[in-house]
C-alpha cells in the first residue's frame, strides 16, 4: 500500500475545509440582519446593531423609525390610523410594519430567511 505524503494530507484538509465553507458562509448569512425601509419605490438599508432614531423627513415623510436591540419599530407617523405604530417592534427575518397612507414600510432583511413569507 502506498503511503500518504504530506501534500496528500494537506490536500485532503484543504478539500474538507473547502467543502465545509458554504455551510459556514450560509450560517454567517443567517445571522446577518439589517433594517430595510421601503419608501415609495426606493429601498434604504440601516444596520440594526446601533441604537438610534431615523427621521424620515429628509425623504419627504413625517415619520420616525426607532432602532435598538436588533429590532425596530415605527415610533411616530402623521398618518390617520396609526396601524404601523400598533404593529410594534419587529425583529424576525421578513417581518414588517407598513404605513400604507405614507407608502412606507420597515422590514427586517436577512441574507437567508428561515421564514419565506408572512400571512397576516
Amino acid at each position: 500500500m502506498k503511503r500518504f505524503r504530506i501534500f496528500d494530507l494537506l490536500f485532503i484538509i484543504f478539500l474538507i475545509l473547502a467543502s465545509l465553507s458554504p455551510l459556514i458562509f450560509v450560517n454567517i448569512d443567517n445571522r446577518h440582519k439589517r433594517l430595510k425601509i421601503i419608501i415609495e419605490n426606493s429601498d434604504f438599508y440601516f444596520p440594526l446593531t446601533e441604537t438610534k432614531i431615523i427621521n424620515l423627513r429628509k425623504y419627504g415623510k413625517e415619520m420616525l423609525v426607532q432602532i435598538g436591540n436588533n429590532q425596530a419599530h415605527i415610533l411616530e407617523s402623521d398618518c390617520r390610523n396609526k396601524i404601523c405604530i400598533r404593529a410594534g417592534w419587529i425583529k424576525n427575518c421578513g417581518e414588517s410594519a407598513v404605513c400604507l397612507p405614507n407608502k412606507v414600510a420597515i422590514q427586517i432583511d436577512c441574507e437567508k430567511n428561515y421564514i419565506d413569507a408572512y400571512s397576516r
Binding site: I12, P22, R80, L100, Y114, D116
Partner: protein, 319 residues
C-alpha cells in the same frame, strides 16, 4: 480507487450540492391598498417590472369598474369588461355559499364608517337605516350575456375581499407562462407559492395578532395559496368596541367573533374569499364548509383560542 481519490470526489460532491441551491431576491412595491412582496430566483428578477405593470393594470381596471358601478344612478345601464363579469360571478358564488353573510354590496354600509381608507367614524342611525334598506346582492341585476348591469337600489360595491387574491392568481399565471418555476407572490398576506424552494417546501408564518414576538402557526407548502383575514389591520375603536372592516350583510354590523382567520387553498382567490366568508360564520359552520371546500383553516378567536380545522395541522409538519 485510492482513499485520496475517494475523499476528493466526496468533497467535490458536497461543494457541487451546496452550489445547486438557487439564490432568491425579494422586491416590494405598493399596490392594491397594501405592500406587494415578490420573491423570485435571482435569475428571474428581470420579471419584476412586468409584474408591477400587470398588477397596476388589473388594479386600475377593477377600481375603474367599481367607480363606474358606484357612481351609476339607479336603473342606469353600466357596461363592464369580461374580467369584472368574472369577479361579479365569483361574488355571487360566495354570496350564496355564505347564505348571504358575505356580500360585496355591504360597502353601502362600511363606507359610512369610513372604510376602507378612513377617517373612521360611527355614522348616524338615520344613514345606517337607509343603507340597510338598499344593501343586497340581489339588487345588482347582472346580464352575463352582454356584460351589463343595473342597480335597483343606490348600492355601493367593494370586491376588495377577494380581488386581491384574483390579481395574485393572474400574476402567478403570468409567471408560470414565462417559465418561472419557483416564486412567491404576496399581496399583504394573501399569497401564492409557486413550485418549491430548492426542492424544499416554502416556510410560511401566520402572524399573531396579539403577540408581536410570536407566530400563530408556521406552515410548509408548495403550489398552494394562503390568505388571512383579521380584525387588527383595518379597524378602529369606539367606546371600547373594536369596529373592523369585515361586516356581516345579514346583521349589517361588524363581525366580532374572531381576531384572525387563515385559509390554505389551491388558488389565492379561493383562500382570500374563504378567509372572509369563514370570518363571518360560526365555528360549527366553518367545520362543515371547510370539509366541503377542502380548505384547511386556522382560527384565532376573540377569547384567544386557536382552532385548527380540516387538516391545518398536517401543513405544520415538513414533508
Amino acid at each position: 480507487m485510492s482513499f485520496l481519490q475517494k475523499t476528493a470526489i466526496f468533497c467535490c460532491l458536497i461543494l457541487v450540492l451546496y452550489g445547486c441551491g438557487q439564490r432568491y431576491d425579494k422586491k416590494s412595491f405598493y399596490a392594491l391598498g397594501t405592500i406587494i412582496d415578490i420573491t423570485l430566483q435571482e435569475k428571474d428578477i428581470s420579471y419584476f417590472d412586468n409584474i408591477k405593470t400587470l398588477i397596476n393594470t388589473y388594479e386600475k381596471s377593477i377600481t375603474n369598474a367599481a367607480h363606474d358601478i358606484n357612481t351609476a344612478k339607479k336603473n342606469e345601464k353600466v357596461t363592464v369588461s369580461n374580467e369584472i363579469v368574472e369577479l361579479l360571478k365569483q361574488s355571487s358564488y360566495y354570496y350564496n355559499l355564505s347564505n348571504g353573510h358575505f356580500d360585496i354590496t355591504i360597502a353601502t354600509i362600511t363606507s359610512l364608517y369610513g372604510f376602507p381608507e378612513g377617517p373612521f367614524k360611527i355614522p348616524n342611525n338615520k344613514h345606517i337605516n337607509k343603507a340597510k334598506t338598499q344593501v343586497g346582492f340581489h339588487n345588482l341585476k347582472i346580464n352575463y350575456e352582454n356584460n351589463t348591469l343595473t342597480k335597483s337600489t343606490d348600492i355601493l360595491i367593494d370586491t376588495g375581499a377577494f380581488s386581491k387574491g384574483t390579481i395574485v392568481d393572474k400574476t402567478v399565471e403570468y409567471l408560470k407562462s414565462v417559465g418561472v418555476k419557483s416564486a412567491i407572490v404576496n399581496a399583504g398576506g394573501d399569497l401564492y407559492c409557486i413550485g418549491d424552494k430548492n426542492e424544499n417546501q416554502w416556510t410560511i408564518a401566520i402572524k399573531h395578532p396579539d403577540e408581536n414576538s410570536n407566530l400563530l402557526s408556521t406552515i410548509f407548502i408548495k403550489e398552494k395559496a394562503v390568505a388571512t383575514s383579521g380584525d387588527y389591520e383595518r379597524s378602529f375603536e369606539e367606546n371600547g368596541k373594536r369596529i373592523n372592516h369585515i361586516f356581516d350583510a345579514i346583521t349589517f354590523s361588524t363581525s366580532d367573533k374572531y381576531k384572525s382567520m387563515s385559509v390554505i387553498a389551491d388558488n389565492t382567490e379561493t383562500a382570500d374569499a374563504l378567509s372572509t366568508v369563514y370570518y363571518l360564520l360560526p365555528v360549527k359552520e366553518i367545520k362543515k364548509l371547510c370539509q366541503e371546500m377542502d380548505t384547511p383553516v386556522l382560527i384565532y378567536t376573540k377569547t384567544g383560542e386557536i382552532i385548527k380545522l380540516c387538516g391545518w395541522d398536517l401543513y405544520e409538519k415538513k414533508e
